[in-house]
Each structure stands twice: as structure tokens, then as C-alpha cells.
Point group: C2
Chain length 144, copies 2
DNA sequence: TTTTTATTTGCAACATTGTTGCAAAATTAC
DNA sequence: GTAATTTTGCAACAATGTTGCAAATAAAAA
């Protein structure tokens, strides 16, 4: 994972590569993503960072990160929206998140199973497939 | 699909089977589900039915239908929650919605592909799988 | 480094969405 | 039919998300 210094450097590089200004808010939010081992939803930022930045700023920052391909969304069956950092192959115009997501029914954590590919799916005639989202519910490694 | 009379009769039977009182709201909401060819979200009921019933009643009705296994949720990457009617094999305690969902990027409709089974997935060691949700994004039959 | 320009942030105000308690209305049981 | 039970609508509130705009900050230019 690296020292705090290393993480900060990695984050700065990431923002620079995405042609984004390096601001306290952006660095702090990326830090939270990198320290967390699961996906985060909006309310997590207020819990984890207290009121160190405005609610509106968090919404706008997440939106920016999405557009730049720094994070991706994970589907849920409730009203929350979950986000996780993308692997390095993702770019602004092309996401490569062809992995499975796992939601633990015990601890609630949502994680990216980066090594687990989404299986191929045979759709009925007439449907064009652009991308496939897979979310597995169950009990995670640490809860078992 | 059947005449209005037949639909009403089918709905009454469904409610009776689930041991639910037959009320105007419940019948109307089930009618909307059966007439729609896609999943519905909360705001659809207000659009489709105007203000013929209260917002709170819709929330409570959908909650009841979920608990009784009459409808199921479909995961989304936004804050909306989408619902569709379950096939008859679903019961209060055991859902059998092992089918794929399709979200059309053109018309926005979400549909159940009842004939398309969810593929088997090989999880990393240590994870217990309870159920798998698959949502395919693309262009649907009618939009193509 | 200092100044200029462009971007980001925080606040206020508002819109939308979801929840709860409770009395009135409707449905079911008798 | 009446009584018991359940459901509904309303009001009030909580939580979540959006927008405009001025102040603060960061990047670019001098
Ligand atoms: Mn992921
Ligand atoms: Mn379905
Ligand atoms: Zn867990
Ligand atoms: Zn379509």
C-alpha cells in the first residue's frame, strides 16, 4: 500500500494525468478510496472525513472523477450509489471494468473482484450488448 | 394479455394468494405493472396514475409486494430503484429470479429477460455466493 | 516571485425522495 | 348488518441531490 508520502505522490500523479487541478478535496477523497478496501458511497465521505469539506463539493468531485475515468459506479438495489477506483487501464473515454462485484450480506462491504471476469452472456435475438454488470451477493472472505 | 376484466380477476387472485386485502391502490399498481412492458420506478407511478393515490401509499404498497414476493428489485447505478413483477414460481420466502436484466441505453427501459439464465461464476476462494445479479446495458429489440 | 486568469469551493436556497405517527376510511371477519 | 383489523392520506419531518453565485484557491503568464 505504501507510506503516506508515497500515496500522496501517487494521487498527485493520477490527478495530473487526468488533467485535473490538485486540490485538498480531491487528494483527500482519493486517499479515502485508496485506504478503504471496499467501495464507498456518498455518506461514507461525511462519516470518514467529518465536515472537513462541503457536501456539494463531494458530489461534484465524484462526478468529475467519474467523467475522467478515475472511479466507476457499482449497481445497487437501494437508493445509494457506490463508487470504487478504476484500475489503471481505464481512461476518460474507455472503461475496462469487466470484473465482478461482491456485496457481503454480513459486513455490508462491496468489493471489486478484479481477478474475476464477467462471463459471456447469450442474449435473445435483436438485443445489442454494450456492457455487463455483475453483482454477487454472499458472505465475504473476512466474514466467513 | 387479456381483457381488463381478466386482468382484474388475475390481480385479485394474486392478492388473495398472498393473503393481502384487495384494495384499489394495490389493484391499480399491479395493473400498471402488468400493462407496462418494463420495470417501473417509484416516480413512474405518479406519472402514470397522476395523483390518484398518495406517495406514501405507493412506497408502502411496493414494500408489501416485495415482502410477499410479488415484485423484485433490479439493481441500478443511479439513485432510482426499479421494480418488476416476479414470475409465479416466486414465493414470500423464496425468489426464483435467476434471469438477466436488460437496460436499453436508447429508450431507457429496463426489462426482465426471463429466458436468459444468469451464467455460473467462479468466485475466488473464501467467498460464499448466495445470489447473482446481472444487468446488461445495450440497445433493445424495439430500438434497434 | 508577483500578477493575471481559470478553476474550484462553500454557502444559501431549493427540489426531490423517502420515513413516521396518527386519525379517518376501507376491507375483512363475524 | 356490526365489530375487528388493515390500509390509506395527511402532516410533519429527514435525508439526499441540485443550482447560482461570490470568495478562495490553483495554474499560467509575466
Ligand atoms: Mn469495480
Ligand atoms: Mn426481473
Ligand atoms: Zn463481509
Ligand atoms: Zn430501447
Amino acid at each position: 500500500m505504501g507510506t503516506k508520502q508515497q500515496i500522496t505522490e501517487r494521487i498527485s500523479a493520477l490527478l495530473r494525468d487526468s488533467k485535473l487541478s490538485i486540490t485538498d478535496t480531491r487528494v483527500k477523497i482519493l486517499e479515502l478510496f485508496m485506504r478503504s478496501n471496499g467501495a464507498l458511497e456518498h455518506s461514507d465521505f461525511e462519516k470518514l472525513a467529518g465536515k472537513s469539506f462541503d457536501r456539494v463539493t463531494v458530489y461534484r468531485t465524484l462526478q468529475t472523477f467519474l467523467e475522467k475515468g478515475i472511479i466507476h459506479k457499482i449497481p445497487t438495489t437501494d437508493t445509494s450509489v457506490r463508487y470504487a477506483v478504476c484500475k489503471s487501464e481505464c481512461t476518460e473515454h474507455h472503461h475496462h471494468d469487466h470484473h465482478v462485484h461482491f456485496k457481503c450480506e454480513n459486513c455490508g462491504a462491496t468489493t471489486c473482484l478484479d481477478e474475476t471476469d464477467v462471463p459471456s452472456i447469450q442474449l435473445p435475438k435483436g438485443y445489442a450488448m454494450h456492457n455487463v454488470e455483475v453483482v454477487v451477493n454472499g458472505v465475504c472472505k473476512s466474514c466467513k
